[in-house]
């Protein structure tokens, strides 16, 4: 049976157990004089049975789903006839794919070597065995759980605490998904990166000045040895982010100041959400805007004053990215500025300072840690931003600090290296994971640093 069918079966069995056990608890309670003689409400006895019936079986089903293909593949490959035994990792996968395709009827059975046909038949029969055994196992386990729960069902059985203990563990498991996600990220990028650093020394990667990830398919090809020096990518990323911050920080900060300190409530109620619309627009839309509107406009503008601006300039990508980040900075800054106590403003104004002097000399210094923290978060955002640069920045890695030229970034390279079909263990794809590792580390450090600044330098008022 399919996994979805098994799951529906479990749901049916679970509800069945619920009603049966609840009914039984009621039947037990009646001769004693009503349900107040039970330790818990009848539905808790039902829930207890339902949980015992479904949870272990679901757990087993999940494990089976994860491992059955792996186990079957391994068994098929060990039973392979001797002349077909693969030499390396790549040919192993090739043969496995062929066998699977024959078994699923994608490849015609005619004109295939008999060894492969045998393997395919082997795979099919193993699949059948696995499906049937898991169905039987799950039904047995569910019945066993139900029997166990019924065995426990007595008027003084503490069903509610038992159910609540299980629920507590389920809730804890949900909370731990965050930890597993982080672990998943760390392991996935770390393992592939370690594999990558086996073929390309880490020093060459971090400090190399040339990036051309095309590796040769044939030994004798010219100029495609592949070099993985990531400095041009780092510089490109920093250049685009710098342009973005150059636009976003002053505009975002001034808007926040204006909205918090000058604007009357009417302007504030309309201008603030309008500005926040910018934060809700998908990045792919910004990318389209940058590539098809801003970049050609800048190129023509440059041409009219005699400047050559590349049509994939860092300026266009960075500028649009800056617009995207404006609401991010302005809302963070707005929060910290409004958090500065009014008494400080009043004190400064009473001393005869103008409003702008109060803002510059009192409010901003008081809010500075929060603002700096916000800017660091915005930088980490800019570094990790993908779609705008994929659509509007270039592909060629050029080592330049000129925003009018085309540069490429870390995220662009990750996308180009990984989109489409790829061989998973070539250095070209692994390089993407190494870049991902760099990106993850840098953004993580920036976030931690930002939180640290906010915590350490925050002035405590009140």
């Amino acid at each position: 049976m399919q996994a979805t069918h098994l799951l529906s079966l479990l749901i049916v069995l679970g509800s069945f157990s619920f009603y049966v056990s609840r009914g039984r608890s009621l039947a037990l309670a009646n001769p004693l004089g009503g349900i107040r003689n039970l330790h818990s409400l009848p539905s808790y006895y039902g829930l207890h049975a339902a949980l015992w019936c479904t949870l272990p079986a679901t757990f087993l089903l999940a494990i089976w789903l994860i491992f059955d293909e792996i186990v079957i593949n391994a068994m098929v490959m060990t039973d392979l006839s001797p002349e077909l035994i693969p030499s390396g990792n790549a040919s192993y996968n090739l043969i496995l794919n062929k066998v699977a395709n024959i078994a699923n009827g994608i490849l015609p059975r005619e004109s295939q070597p008999s060894g492969l046909l045998d393997a395919a038949d082997n795979m099919l029969s193993l699949n059948v065995v696995s499906q049937w055994s898991i169905t039987l196992l799950i039904i047995t386990l569910a019945m066993f759980g139900l029997a166990w729960s019924s065995h426990k069902l007595k008027p003084d059985f503490r069903a509610r605490p038992a159910v609540e203990r299980v629920m507590q563990n389920l809730l804890l498991a949900c909370a731990c998904v965050a930890i597993f996600t982080t672990l998943g990220i760390v392991f996935s990028v770390l393992f592939e990166s370690i594999q990558f650093f086996r073929s390309v020394p880490i020093y060459d990667f971090v400090f190399g000045l040339e990036w051309s990830p095309q590796t040769a398919i044939r030994e004798d090809q010219v100029g495609s040895s592949g070099s993985f020096g990531a400095i041009p990518l780092f510089v490109g990323t920093l250049l685009v982010s710098a342009v973005a911050m150059f636009i976003a920080v002053p505009i975002g900060l001034m808007s926040a100041i204006y909205l918090a300190e000058y604007a009357d409530s009417k302007v504030r109620t309309y201008a603030k959400p309008a500005l926040e619309v910018l934060a809700g627009i998908p990045t792919v839309v910004y990318g389209f805007f940058a590539a098809l509107t801003v970049a050609p406009f800048l190129r023509d503008l440059g041409a009219s004053v005699g400047l050559t601006i590349s049509s994939e300039s860092a300026l266009a990508a960075g500028g649009v990215m800056g617009i995207m980040i404006i609401p991010f900075i302005s809302s963070l800054a707005d929060d910290v500025i409004t958090a500065v106590p009014q008494s400080m403003r009043d004190g400064s104004l009473a001393m005869g300072a103008t409003q702008s002097e109060t803002i510059r000399k009192v409010v901003i210094p008081a809010a500075l840690p929060g603002i700096v923290g916000g800017i660091m978060l915005a930088i980490s955002r800019a570094i990790g931003e993908t779609m705008i640069v994929v659509m509007a920045a270039g592909m060629a890695a050029k080592l330049t600090a000129n925003p009018l030229e085309s540069v490429t970034t870390v995220t662009v390279q990750i996308v180009t290296l990984l989109t489409g079909d790829q061989e998973f263990d070539s250095p070209k794809t692994l390089a993407a994971f190494a870049l991902g590792l760099m990106l993850f580390t840098v953004t993580l450090l920036l976030n931690i640093f930002a939180l640290h600044i906010v915590k350490k330098y925050r002035e405590q008022y009140e």
Binding site: E69, E164, M167, L172, C174, A175, C176, A178, T181, T182, G184, I185, S188, E192, P250, I251, M254, S255, Y258, E261, Y262, A263, A271, L275, L278, G280, I281, P282, T283, V284, V285, G287, F289, A291, L292, I323, I326, P327, S330, T354, Q355, S356, E357, I359, R360, S380, R381, G384, M387, T411, I414, V415, L418, F433, G436, L439, F440, T443, N447, I448
Partner: protein, 425 residues
């Protein structure tokens, strides 16, 4: 004397300070204006580029459904139908319309006026009403994308000729004078999947893919997020493990989305062998990505339920789980739903991680389930924006308009829900 000197000095500095004040005030106004102008510019640009895509150019032809011409003799034989020369129908009709076209090259140019899917549209029409076979009917036939682009720009008085020849332009002029070419509502945009031909490409496939992916995301992230929030707010003991969970959630909220794509590729696809390009894997990745948002908003919603409610429930003898399930959760639900909608809006607009897990493939068919290869709206926008045909610019903008209207609808619902259902204590 020195008194007046000081006075003058103060007066002087005061004007300067007031000027600085006014300048500063203006900086603020300009900053706001730039931000608002960016919003306006973006919308005007997208709408300006995309409004045309909601109408497409059609040419009126007298189509004779000639069985010999198509090469069929039986409408129920699927093999014949798929082998039939359907494109011959509009081609012949067009040649009858312009009988003086004789040279082979001119004929080809004439045929290029029509979309190469026009024949299949006629096939569908014929199959829907088989009695048309052998009869003649006047039909509006879809024009080629180059013609579409030219005709629209020509109507706007700013003709864009591109690859068209003078003769083709003359033909279009003739058709226009006869009233046989016009703009009609572009139903293909909403009813079809992707295509290499701009005039036949639609967003249906991507929209359905987006919907399936979002359903998957919601089904996973909402329960998990709410459970995690309940645990952290109501049950978690104050210890290092809880702190560690919280640090993790906060960090995940700031991890670049593309990293989640790498995670999906390495773990779900290469380790667990989930098939590529399917809504299941897209939903899994987006779940992990939106989870921090949902957890954080759900926690805020739980926090806003006043402690007196909890104490009252405990006071009448509820267990802590009964208190949470019967009292806190229903009261916090509007806030949680708002958070879920915001998280879903974020997931709907996300592109980068989906590129990593193969949802960027060219898929013509409209997906039917969670395990069919699919793409999503933002990725469709990305793919079209990359296409060289000029007609795709218009299509891309139209797809963006559709995506943005979905997002605006979701966010408005979230705001409305918050206003409507949230209680102030």
């Amino acid at each position: 004397m020195s008194d007046s000197k000081t006075l003058i000095k103060i007066q002087h500095s005061l004007t300067q300070r007031n000027r600085a004040e006014a300048r500063f005030h203006w900086y603020g106004r300009i900053a706001i204006l730039i931000g608002l102008m960016a919003v306006a510019l973006l919308f005007i640009d997208i709408v300006g580029k995309g409004h045309g895509a909601f109408r497409a150019t059609y040419i009126n032809l007298d189509i004779r459904y000639d069985a010999d011409l198509i090469g069929i003799d039986n409408l129920s034989d699927t093999e014949q139908l798929s082998a039939g020369n359907w494109q011959a129908l509009p081609k012949t009709a067009l040649r009858e319309r312009f009988p003086d076209v004789s040279s082979r090259r001119d004929k080809r140019r004439l045929n290029n006026l029509l979309s190469n899917g026009a024949g299949f549209d006629l096939k569908d029409r014929l199959l829907a009403s088989p009695r048309l076979l052998g009869k003649t009917e006047s039909v509006w036939v879809l024009a080629d994308d180059d013609i579409d682009t030219y005709y629209k720009s020509w109507l706007d008085g700013n003709a864009y000729e591109a690859r068209l020849t003078g003769q083709q332009i003359q033909w279009i002029g003739e058709l226009h004078e006869q009233g046989s070419i016009k703009l009609k509502f572009n139903s293909n945009l909403f009813n079809r999947g992707d295509s290499r031909e701009p005039e036949q490409a639609g967003i249906r496939g991507a929209a359905v893919g987006s919907f399936l992916t979002l359903v998957m995301t919601l089904m996973l992230s909402f329960p998990i997020g709410v459970c995690a929030a309940i645990y952290l707010e109501e049950f978690a003991p104050k210890n290092r493990w809880t702190d560690f969970i919280e640090v993790n959630i906060n960090n995940l909220a700031a991890v670049p989305s593309i990293i989640f794509g790498l995670l999906g590729l390495a773990i779900f696809i290469n380790f667990f062998h989930v098939p590529r390009s399917v809504p299941i894997v897209g939903g899994l990745v987006l779940t992990l990505m939106t989870l921090p948002t949902i957890i954080i908003t759900s926690r805020a919603a739980i926090k806003s339920v006043p402690p007196s409610i909890r104490e009252a429930a405990l006071g009448v003898g509820a267990s802590r789980y009964q208190m949470v399930l019967h009292h806190v959760l229903p009261l916090a639900l509007p806030g949680m739903l708002t958070g879920a909608i915001i998280g879903m809006a974020q997931a709907l607009g996300e592109t980068a991680p989906l590129l990593m897990i193969g949802m960027v493939a060219f898929i013509v068919d409209i997906p039917n389930g969670f395990s069919d290869p699919a793409t999503v709206l933002p990725v469709q926008i990305f793919l079209w924006a990359d296409s060289p045909e000029r007609a795709f610019v218009e299509k891309t903008s139209a797809a963006i308009m559709v995506l943005l209207s979905f997002l605006i609808a979701m966010n408005t619902t979230a705001v409305w829900l918050r206003r409507r259902l949230e209680r102030r204590w």
